[in-house]
């Protein structure tokens, strides 16, 4: 009996040996996943298929619960708003009539010029935000659609008519999205009017104020405060023409060759629930 126990102890790893083994495993895994990103890890699929439905369930209960209290407060606001809006509708209807005739004219002219509104041509898939990055350093979230809905890595995600982020990981049932407010994110932007380029970067320190960093603007560029910044066509992952946000506090840099400032994102990242995934990839859309 005692011999048997001794045998058992010999086979078992000491804590120190386990630590060394685990460390090597981790570093090895980091190396492997860094150099060759496996598109679909089996472990991730399995864990995801268990966890994601649970998160969806919790969210459902949560939004029902929070919704009840929120509803009461919002009802009064809504009633007042309704009155104001009714008056506005009448005024707008008048205005609309004028625009409608303009619109027909525009359509005719566009057909003549063979212009295409690319923005509306992207195919999209709707998805719900399931969970958010539990850490405080990065800003990622998962959505409840995956490869089975046609999603793939590097697809752009939008909401409220603005750019939200990009898919970094995807499995059969869920996908991870990196928001543009994340510190490691950078997007090349431009403006519709001037076509001057700039870089929009997430910055953890500006995030508390609700801003992103807007930099590398040429000193002569015509990007002013409140200018609408859209994604530029030179980006390799982001589709052109998506609204990112609005420029703010543009100032000359100390090097006198560039300008920089802040960007107020179009999307309300704090209350993100429903998003749209554009299933057109930048590379594939270029080939067409």
């Amino acid at each position: 009996m005692k011999d048997k126990l001794d045998m058992k102890i010999k086979i078992q790893l000491t804590p120190k040996a386990t630590l060394v083994l685990a460390t090597i495993t981790c570093i090895g895994l980091m190396g492997i996943t860094y150099f060759s990103k496996p598109s679909a890890l089996t472990v991730r699929e399995v864990v995801g298929s268990v966890v994601v439905p649970m998160q969806e369930g919790i969210n459902e209960i949560g939004s029902w619960f929070f919704g009840l209290t929120e509803k009461k407060i919002k009802l009064e606001e809504a009633l007042a708003e309704n009155e104001a809006l009714k008056n506005e509708v009448v005024a707008l209807q008048e205005e609309l009539k004028g625009y409608q005739s303009d619109s027909y004219r525009l359509q005719e002219l566009e057909e003549l010029l063979q212009l295409k509104n690319t923005y509306a041509n992207y195919d999209t898939v709707g998805a719900t935000v399931v969970s958010k990055d539990p850490g405080n350093w990065y800003h990622k979230f998962t959505i409840n659609k995956g490869t089975k809905d046609g999603l793939a890595v590097n697809m752009n995600v939008i909401a409220d008519g603005g750019l939200v982020g990009i898919i970094t990981d995807v499995t059969e049932n869920f996908a991870t999205v990196r928001a543009i407010i994340s510190d490691e994110s950078s997007v090349s932007g431009t403006t519709e009017e001037s076509l001057d380029s700039c870089i929009v970067e997430g910055d953890l320190q500006l995030l508390n104020q609700g801003y992103l960093k807007l930099s590398y603007i040429d000193i002569d560029a015509d990007i002013t405060n409140d200018a609408e910044i859209i994604t530029s066509s030179i980006s390799d992952k982001y589709l052109p023409g998506l609204v990112i946000g609005y420029a703010k506090d543009i100032k000359e840099d100390s090097n006198r060759t560039t300008k920089s400032g802040y960007l107020v994102p179009k999307v309300d990242f704090k209350h993100l629930k429903e998003v749209l995934v554009i299933t057109t990839l930048k590379e594939t859309s270029d080939k067409k």
Partner: protein
């Protein structure tokens, strides 16, 4: 076996809490790190081996869902569990403030690691700003949560140990 199931449920519940419920708290931009509490608590209560295994599972969950590369979070969680396991050899479990101290140490260790490898190496040099915006709020919040979570984990652990002891007595 009973312990493995119990611990797995605890880890899963913590992950779900941290990714959903704790994100809803209004006016709170920062999320407390429940998985870290679970890791250092088990390391401290049960020694370095169990701390290591619990840390491995917690870190792996983070990596699978939110990691750019697999292993980044796992590595730090393993060490948090292991080091707290070593600490348990030298300190007495009964002092109430002790878990708070462990939490402080673990939080600084964990966030220091993420700052150095995730930010410093990308030339983000102003440490003080990061301490103010992320590390300090997260540490304080997690320390507050430690009081409750550690309490729950301690009770669960005592129950498990009682059951295990009963089982062992039966065979003896």
């Amino acid at each position: 076996m009973r312990r493995i199931i119990a611990v797995a449920i605890i880890i899963l519940a913590s992950f779900l809490l941290q990714t959903t419920v704790l994100q809803w708290i209004p006016y709170l931009e920062i999320t407390p790190n429940i998985l870290l509490i679970v890791t250092f608590s088990f390391g401290f209560m049960r020694g370095r081996s169990e701390g290591l295994y619990v840390g491995f599972l917690c870190g792996l969950l983070m990596d699978l869902f939110y990691g750019d590369i697999i292993g980044f979070y796992t590595l730090i969680f393993i060490y948090v569990g292991y080091i707290n396991g070593i600490v348990s050899n030298y300190l007495v479990t009964d002092i109430v403030l002790l878990p708070m101290g462990l939490c402080l140490f673990s939080e600084l260790f964990y966030n220091g690691y993420i700052y150095i490898f995730g930010f410093l190496l990308r030339n983000r040099l102003n440490v003080i700003q990061y301490v103010q915006t992320v590390i300090l709020p997260e540490t304080v919040l997690t320390m507050i949560f430690t009081i409750f979570v550690y309490g729950i984990l301690l009770t669960v652990n005592k129950k498990l140990e009682a059951i295990e002891k009963k089982g062992a007595d039966k065979f003896a």
